[in-house]
Symmetry: C2
């Protein structure tokens, strides 16, 4: 939330709505939720919205109950501005994501894989860890989505088997399409990351960060990444 305005609300709400439907959770009404966010975040804030099935008994059965909605405001992120300018250093995580097509794409609270992956490093110079699947494809960062650029063509991993379809990822895909820049959603082998002209990460807090280094491979931020940053900044400014 910036100056009381919810950024990228369309894709955030779609994400929540789709995941609630997938998990058979009550979908908060769009206007109610937006009002609640406005109440906890009148100025600048990072807002986290959690929807649960509610308070019930033991067991795995889905029984009718009143859902719980938690809308919490945190301070806005304070990232080093150099991350967006010069790019960040990332690593390849050793944890391999499991594949569950029934839950792939959803942003659920079942995030133990991300916690395990994030605990693989504590070097503050490494901004993010990249995760892959058992088939040798890159899927995402522990808390971001990834895009690769090669010969002016953009691609981002297909997330039908694992990974989270981030709200910023979807917005960037939409912004690229509107700017007539093709972006493929497909399986991407690790080798394609290494050989990419540009690699960048997205999420709602970082916007888009160039990747400057992955293990021994280094990059300087390229034109497509700069264009994406500009498109995101314009969209944020426009609401």
């Amino acid at each position: 939330v910036h100056a009381g305005r919810i950024l990228n609300w369309t894709w955030h709400y779609r994400r929540l709505q789709a995941d609630c439907e997938l998990l058979r959770l009550p979908v908060p009404a769009e206007r109610v939720l937006a009002t609640e966010i406005g109440m906890v975040a009148p100025g600048d804030a990072t807002v986290k919205v959690i929807v649960t099935r509610g308070a019930g008994g033991r067991g795995y059965a889905v029984v009718p109950m009143r859902g719980t909605r938690i809308v919490a405001a945190f301070p806005p992120p304070q990232y080093d501005p150099a991350n967006a300018v010069d790019g960040v250093r990332v690593r390849r995580c050793s944890l391999v994501l499991s594949e569950q097509p029934r839950l792939a794409g959803a942003k659920t609270l079942n995030r133990l894989e991300n916690v395990l992956a994030r605990s693989e490093w504590d070097d503050a110079a490494i901004a993010e860890g990249l995760l892959g699947d058992a088939g040798g494809h890159v899927i995402e960062g522990t808390a971001s989505n990834v895009f690769v650029v090669k010969g002016g063509r953009v691609a981002t991993p297909a997330l039908a088997r694992c990974g989270v379809v981030g709200a910023q990822r979807e917005r960037v895909r939409e912004l690229l399409a509107r700017a007539a820049i093709a972006c493929e959603e497909r399986d991407i082998a690790w080798g394609e990351v290494e050989s990419a002209d540009e690699v960048f990460l997205t999420n709602s807090l970082i916007g888009a960060w160039p990747v400057a280094r992955l293990e021994a491979r280094t990059w300087t931020p390229g034109p497509v990444t700069r264009r994406v940053q500009s498109l995101v900044a314009d969209a944020d400014a426009a609401g």
Copy 2:
């Protein structure tokens, strides 16, 4: 907890201890936890113990914080006594378990697969759903472990890639070993379930239930299942 006595405490505590270590959570001291359980469950109860990393900020990083321990007592289970005598009807779930060796065996709160699987049926005549992996093996029930018997030989699925290593499963394996009944832990194809002489389910609340029917296949409770029920009953009586 029966008459103020915690049943199968050894394996319950081992399970909790191993999983806390895996997830880098604080391990509650055995005596402290047993005392707390005694406080909430002085008589007969189903007790659920949850250990979390505690209350922290956003993000996936493991940061030092004071852990949270929830020890809650519920009424004892009230199952139809016929379940243990005549056996239960089970189904094969369509959900296929994902494989994550780093978390396999652990009883974590990331149980969305179980929730999805349990929501596949609402026929009260079906007591449990069996789950398998992508390789065509049976792994477990949504809330129980499974054993098959063929020609007097007992086997239970290996849980190195997915599944929960239940405290009752481990106790039954120990009881079988002490009774000089071999029990293999290995991959078990669905076909082996169909062709088994006996199939039974275990967990801490049901003890051991014979499977009387899986889809079209039916069984009458057999001698090994009866022996296991007797061993569990004796162990519960002894503490």
